[in-house]
Subunit: 150 residues, 2 copies
């Protein structure tokens, strides 16, 4: 706990990330590998779906969210180790060219079983950087521990 | 609703997927792009982490889960459109060479706002195909609709 608090992990702490643009080719490449469905693979096929056009796989947006959050080092020197995603909501479709940015807010810090380890609960919003709309909202339960000691 | 029921989406229906082996190079490639942390990138660096060795990013295992589930067509002809992941738990680390398979169970089917659309709640377990252990468990809320009519 002291280590975690020393790293500035106080409830209410907000972490903002850089932006990343989701390109059309990125969307299609991810979909071919992990989510091969018409709304993610091809403009023409996507037009006939409930989305009316090409949109990113939600798992792709979630993966880019992880990338941006990891780079922002929300737990200081400790890695970002997920225990649980309490709730992940896909709130808006993400078309090609969307500039993503993320915001993490620490909601709770509690002792974990082992000394030096804590559970950190963090709300993570993935935003459209141009409009400010929330695209995906989720709540992460993370295991925070001291650097490389485990 | 009738369409959904006609597609065999009854509560209790179980969908089993094929297996896919998570190779060491796949794990590192995914991590470089989406989760660049020591436990996912490099054997030596991973040894010093809480995992004691290289493990797949949880988002990678979740993405492969989506791939396997999409191929198994759990909603029949309708695509798999996520509204929400109610809870996703990372239950066991996933080292290189793990053979994954998934099992989806329909927990509930309820009418959505528009005619011909339904919400389907499905428990999805990602298993180690060799031991039967659950690696990730989650609950998906999906929007099921009639083919390409939206």
């Amino acid at each position: 706990m002291e280590e975690v608090e020393a790293a500035g992990l106080a409830v209410g702490t907000v972490v903002e990330t850089r932006t990343e643009t989701l390109g059309r080719d990125d969307i299609v490449a991810f979909a071919r590998q992990f989510d091969p469905q018409p709304m993610h693979l091809d403009e023409d096929a996507a037009r006939g779906t409930v989305f009316g056009g090409l949109v990113a796989s939600g798992w792709h947006v979630a993966a880019v969210t992880m990338r941006l959050m990891v780079e922002a080092r929300p737990l200081g020197a400790a890695p970002v180790v997920g225990v649980e995603v309490e709730r992940l909501r896909y709130r808006r479709p993400v078309p090609p060219g969307t500039r993503l940015r993320c915001r993490g807010t620490i909601d709770a810090v509690a002792p974990a079983l082992r000394p030096g380890q804590s559970y950190v609960t963090m709300s993570v919003d993935t935003l459209d950087a141009d409009t400010g709309s929330v695209l995906i909202s989720q709540r992460w339960k993370l295991l925070a521990y001291r650097g490389e000691e485990g």
